[in-house]
């Protein structure tokens, strides 16, 4: 038998303006994070760079 979902106080209509403003900021943050990950990956897998393990 399944459990009952918690009762929540329903929110008003979806706030499109707030969502769009936050989406813009979050998109910028993820772009930065992805660049960091890409650089980290490129560094780890470098075959011709400075990271030569003798």
């Amino acid at each position: 038998m399944s459990n009952k979902l918690p009762i929540i106080k329903r929110k008003k209509k979806f706030d499109v303006k707030k969502f769009m403003a936050l989406a813009k900021k979050v998109k910028k943050s993820f772009k930065e994070e992805n660049e960091y990950l890409k650089n980290k990956k490129d560094g780890n897998n470098s075959s011709s760079g400075f990271l030569i393990d003798y």
């Binding site: 459990n3 979806f14 499109v16 969502f19 989406a23 943050s29 993820f30």
Partner: protein, 163 residues
């Protein structure tokens, strides 16, 4: 880009809780105009958008500053109406691991928590995810789907429940 819903999508999800996977939030900010319209439609349809702490944490990981962490959290909270607690799920998680068998090796903790949450609440809740291979139809029931078209292809999302 456009979100294409099958004609019965809104009637299937009406009055249900729709559990959102991390991919929904990622595509949500990447294609914000289309997803704003979609979320508005769902809220208007009396579909309750929810997620769980594991999904929120996955989304928050990698935040470079406290301000950016807060913005990400607010973004998730602007979409969902509540974050369901992920307590008392261990029995369901163990049951799922047994059902997945060897396939459970590839599952993330978030996948297990999502599956266990579907098990916990039964037909009252369904999951929206782009990770289709992690929710096989021998364990979960795929009740509908939607397509998200973009310049380089089409993403398909499945809607799953546990019966």
């Amino acid at each position: 880009m456009e979100i294409i819903l099958p004609p019965d999508f809104l009637s299937i999800t009406k009055n249900k809780h729709l559990l959102l996977d991390t991919s929904v939030f990622i595509d949500g900010f990447a294609h914000s105009s289309a997803f704003a319209k979609f979320f508005y439609q769902l809220r208007d349809n009396n579909t309750v958008l929810v997620t769980i702490p594991s999904v929120l944490n996955e989304f928050l990981e990698g935040s470079t500053t406290e301000v950016k962490f807060k913005e990400k959290k607010e973004f998730v909270e602007s979409i969902v109406e509540t974050i369901l607690p992920d307590i008392n799920l261990q029995d369901n998680i163990e049951a799922l691991i047994k059902r997945y068998g060897i396939e459970s090796k590839d599952l993330s903790m978030t996948d297990l928590y999502l599956g266990a949450t579907l098990m916990k609440y039964g037909e009252n809740i369904c999951l929206l995810t782009r990770d289709l291979s992690d929710f096989p139809t021998n364990i979960f029931k795929r009740i509908t789907f939607l397509n998200v078209t973009h310049t380089k292809g089409i993403f398909t999302y499945g809607v799953y429940c546990f019966t």
